[in-house]
C-alpha cells in the first residue's frame, strides 16, 4: 500500500510540475484586445479617411497595437496609427504600404497599465482598406438578431512576451473580480487543490484497499443484503 500511495503522490507531483512547466513556456504577447474575432467590416477607409475606437480601458501595459484589415488581395495602403491616452500621452506610428491584408502592427511606445485610450487609423495611401471588427457587447450567438454597429478590432501587444507562470499573481487578482471571494481565498484554494486533492484521494485509497497481509480483497458479495432472487451479475 505504501508503494501505491507513493505512486499516487508521484503522479500528482508530476502533474503539478508539468502544469508549471507548460505555464513557464506559455509566453504571451497580447496584453488586451477588443473586437475579436474580427469578422465584420467596421469601415471602408478611402484615401485620407480615418476610423477611431475610443474609451478603451487597457488594464495591462503595452507597446504595440494591431488592427485587422482586408485589402482585396492587393498590397495594402500605408496607415497612420494614433494612440491617445486620457492621461495626455499621444503616440503615432506608421504601417508601411505593401502588406497583404490581415493583421498589421504598429509600434507606438510604452503605455502604462490601466490607461484609457483611443486608437485611430488613417489611410495614408490611395487604395481603399477595410478595417474589421465586431459589434461590442453582443454575444456571438446573438449577432444575427441585433443592429449594433461593428467597431474596429484593436489588439494591444507587449514588446516582450510574459509567461503565464509569471502572471500567476495577476491572474489571481483578475480571477477575483466579479466574484464573492477575494484573491486570498483563491490562493488558498489553489494550495488546497494542489496538496489537498491528492492527499484526500490517498486517504480514500488507504481506507479502501485492504492490507496485503489480509490476503485477497473482500469477496464479491452484495453491498448490504443478500440477493432476493437468482439474477444475473456482471463481473462476478
Amino acid at each position: 500500500m505504501r508503494r501505491a500511495l507513493v505512486l499516487l503522490a508521484a503522479l500528482a507531483v508530476a502533474g503539478a510540475l508539468a502544469v508549471v512547466a507548460v505555464a513557464a513556456g506559455d509566453e504571451r504577447v497580447v496584453a488586451h484586445a477588443v473586437g475579436l474575432p474580427a469578422i465584420g467590416p467596421a469601415a471602408r477607409l478611402a484615401q485620407g479617411e480615418q476610423l477611431c475606437r475610443t474609451g478603451i480601458d487597457v488594464p495591462v501595459g503595452f507597446e504595440r497595437v494591431r488592427v485587422v484589415t482586408i485589402t482585396g488581395g492587393r498590397a495594402g495602403p500605408p496607415l497612420a496609427v494614433t494612440v491617445r491616452s486620457r492621461a495626455g500621452r499621444t503616440a503615432r506610428a506608421r504601417i508601411a504600404a505593401g502588406y497583404p491584408g490581415g493583421t498589421v502592427e504598429a509600434r507606438v511606445g510604452a503605455f502604462p497599465a490601466e490607461s484609457v485610450v483611443s486608437v485611430c487609423v488613417r489611410n495614408l495611401g490611395v487604395r481603399e482598406v477595410v478595417m474589421l471588427g465586431l459589434p461590442p457587447g453582443v454575444l456571438l450567438g446573438d449577432l444575427g438578431d441585433v443592429n449594433v454597429p461593428v467597431e474596429m478590432a484593436v489588439v494591444f501587444v507587449r514588446d516582450r512576451p510574459v509567461s503565464t507562470l509569471g502572471q500567476v499573481p495577476a491572474m489571481m487578482r483578475r480571477a477575483a473580480l466579479f466574484k464573492p471571494v477575494p484573491a486570498g481565498v483563491l490562493w488558498a484554494l489553489l494550495a488546497l487543490v494542489v496538496v489537498g486533492l491528492p492527499a484526500l484521494l490517498a486517504g480514500a485509497l488507504r481506507a479502501a484497499e485492504p492490507a496485503p497481509a489480509g490476503g485477497a480483497p473482500a469477496p464479491a458479495a452484495a453491498e448490504s443484503e443478500p440477493s432476493r432472487a437468482e439474477a444475473p451479475a456482471a463481473g462476478r
Binding site: 500500500m1 505512486l7 490601466e114 453582443v138 486533492l197 440477493s227 439474477a231
Partner: protein, 453 residues
C-alpha cells in the same frame, strides 16, 4: 433500527470531489459555461416573478434576461468574451468598481423585467426550482454573489453523482471498496463532469438522477423488485423528466428492469430494430441523408471535407471524445491532442477489461439496463441533430450530453478493476486516481490560462 454508516473511503472521496467542485465553481468567470446565462435567467424568473418563463410578446432577445443581468454581463466582459478564445473577460478593477456603483443605482424592477423564453425556456423547471433556493437565500446580495451561490449549491449534486457511481459499482462488483472508489472518482473527477456540475446547469442534477436510477435498475434486476426500490426508481424517473426531457431515454432501461423476466430478448431486439427502421424513415431529410450524416459523424474518411459544415471535422473525436473528456468554457477551451489520445486509450483499456468479464448469456438482462438508455440517448441525440441540420441548418450535439452515462463508465472501471490480481490492485488504483488528479490539474490550468492570462 439499522443505521447506514458512510464508508470511510467514500467520505474521503466526497471531500476530494467537494474541493474540486468548489475550485471549479469559483474559477470559472460569470456565465462562461454552456448556456449558464440562460439557466440563470430561468432561475431569476422563477425567483423574482414567481412563474416560469413564457413568451410575453416582446422580442425574444429583449425578454430573455433582466436588465440587471444584461448590465452585469456587459460589465463583467462576458458579452465580449463568451465563446471567443481570443478575448478575455473584464480584468480591470476599475470596471468592477464601476459595476458596484451601477448596481447600487439599479431599481428593484431591474431584476423583474426578464421572464421571456430564452435558450433554456424549453426545459422543465425541476433543476431551476432547486437553484432558486440559493438565489432567494442571497436575494439581498449582488447578482454575482447570487450566481456563485447557485454554483456552489450545484456542487453537492456532484457529490451525489459520486455516491451513485459508488453504489452502482457496489451492486456490480460487491463490497470491493477500491473498485467502488475508482468508480466514484471517475464520476466526480472526470474534468468535464466536475466543470458542468459546478455551474448553474440542469445537467448537474440530471447526472446523479441517472446514476441513482441505474443503480436501482441494477438492484431490481439482480435481486428482484422490492416495493421500496420500485417506488424510489419511479420517483427518480419522474424527477429526471422534470429536469430535462432527455431523461425519456431512461425509460427503456427502467421498463426492462421492472419487467425483464416477462420479456424475451428476441422481443427487445425486435422492438429496437423496429424503432431504428421507423426513426430512420421518419427522420427529416429522409433515411439516405440521415445515414450520410451518421457516416460523417463516425467515419473519419470525410474529415476536413465534411459536406455538413455545421459539424466538427470529425464529430466522433471532436464532439464525443473531446466534448466528453474536457471542453470547457463555452466548449472553446480544449486540451492538447495527446491528452484526448491518452484518454481514448484509457477508455479502450477499461472497455476491453470490462467486456472480458462479461458473459453475454448470463449478463444480458443486466447489460440491457444500461445499453437501452445509452442507445436511446445516443439515437435521440442523432435524430435531434439531424432535425436541427435539416430545419435550422445548425448542429446540436455536444459531448456533455453523454455524461448522464458517466456512472455506467465508472461501473465499467469497477468491473474491469475487480478482475485484477491482488498484487496489482493498489498500484493500478493509484495510477487511476493519479491520472484523475493530473486531468484536474491540467483542466483547471487550461481554464485559468484562457480567462486570466
Amino acid at each position: 433500527m439499522r443505521t447506514t454508516r458512510v464508508p470511510v473511503p467514500l467520505r474521503w472521496l466526497v471531500a476530494a470531489v467537494l474541493l474540486a467542485g468548489v475550485s471549479w465553481a469559483l474559477l470559472v468567470p460569470p456565465w462562461q459555461a454552456p448556456d449558464e446565462d440562460a439557466h440563470f435567467a430561468y432561475v431569476q424568473t422563477i425567483a423574482e416573478l414567481g412563474r416560469l418563463p413564457h413568451d410575453d410578446g416582446r422580442r425574444a432577445l429583449d425578454a430573455a434576461k433582466s436588465t440587471e443581468q444584461d448590465r452585469a454581463e456587459l460589465a463583467s466582459g462576458y458579452r465580449d468574451s463568451g465563446q471567443r478564445i481570443e478575448m478575455r473577460p473584464q480584468w480591470d478593477p476599475r470596471a468592477a468598481a464601476r459595476w458596484k456603483a451601477e448596481a447600487a443605482t439599479l431599481p428593484a424592477s431591474a431584476r423583474k423585467d426578464g421572464g421571456g423564453v430564452g435558450r433554456a425556456g424549453g426545459n422543465p423547471p425541476g433543476y431551476y426550482l432547486y437553484a432558486a433556493i440559493p438565489y432567494l437565500a442571497g436575494s439581498s446580495a449582488g447578482i454575482f454573489d447570487r450566481l456563485y451561490l447557485m454554483r456552489l449549491w450545484s456542487v453537492p449534486l456532484l457529490c451525489l453523482l459520486v455516491v451513485s457511481g459508488w453504489l452502482l459499482a457496489g451492486e456490480l462488483v460487491g463490497r470491493d471498496r477500491t473498485a467502488q472508489l475508482l468508480a466514484g472518482a471517475v464520476c466526480g473527477l472526470a474534468p468535464m463532469a466536475t466543470f458542468v456540475s459546478a455551474t448553474v446547469s440542469p445537467d448537474a442534477l440530471i447526472y446523479p438522477l441517472w446514476g441513482f436510477a441505474f443503480w436501482l435498475c441494477a438492484r431490481i434486476v439482480r435481486r428482484g423488485p422490492a416495493r421500496r426500490e420500485v417506488v424510489a426508481l419511479l420517483l427518480l424517473v419522474v424527477c429526471a423528466l422534470a429536469v430535462k426531457p432527455v431523461s425519456v431515454a431512461l425509460l427503456p432501461g427502467v421498463l426492462w428492469a421492472l419487467a425483464w423476466r416477462r420479456i424475451p430478448l428476441r422481443a427487445v431486439a425486435a422492438v429496437v430494430g423496429l424503432a431504428v427502421v421507423v426513426a430512420t424513415l421518419a427522420v427529416p431529410g429522409g433515411p439516405r441523408r440521415f445515414l450520410s450524416y451518421l457516416w460523417q459523424f463516425y467515419v473519419p474518411v470525410d474529415a476536413g471535407t465534411n459536406v455538413l459544415p455545421q459539424l466538427a471535422p470529425w464529430p466522433l473525436r471532436d464532439t464525443w471524445l473531446e466534448g466528453t473528456v474536457g471542453a470547457f468554457g463555452w466548449l472553446e477551451i480544449r486540451l492538447p491532442w495527446w491528452f484526448y489520445a491518452a484518454a481514448a486509450a484509457v477508455i479502450v483499456v477499461v472497455a476491453v477489461g470490462a467486456l472480458r468479464r462479461i458473459d453475454l448469456r448470463r449478463d444480458a438482462p443486466l447489460l440491457l439496463v444500461f445499453a437501452l438508455p445509452a442507445f436511446a440517448l445516443i439515437a435521440g441525440l442523432h435524430l435531434t441533430e439531424e432535425w436541427f441540420l435539416v430545419r435550422q441548418r445548425s448542429g446540436f450535439t455536444q459531448g456533455r450530453y453523454l455524461l448522464p452515462l458517466l456512472p455506467v463508465a465508472g461501473a465499467a472501471v469497477a468491473v474491469a478493476f475487480a478482475a485484477l490480481p491482488v498484487r496489482r490492485r493498489a498500484p493500478v488504483a493509484a495510477v487511476g486516481l493519479g491520472l484523475l488528479v493530473i486531468a484536474q490539474f491540467a483542466s483547471l490550468a487550461a481554464v485559468a490560462g484562457r480567462f486570466y492570462a
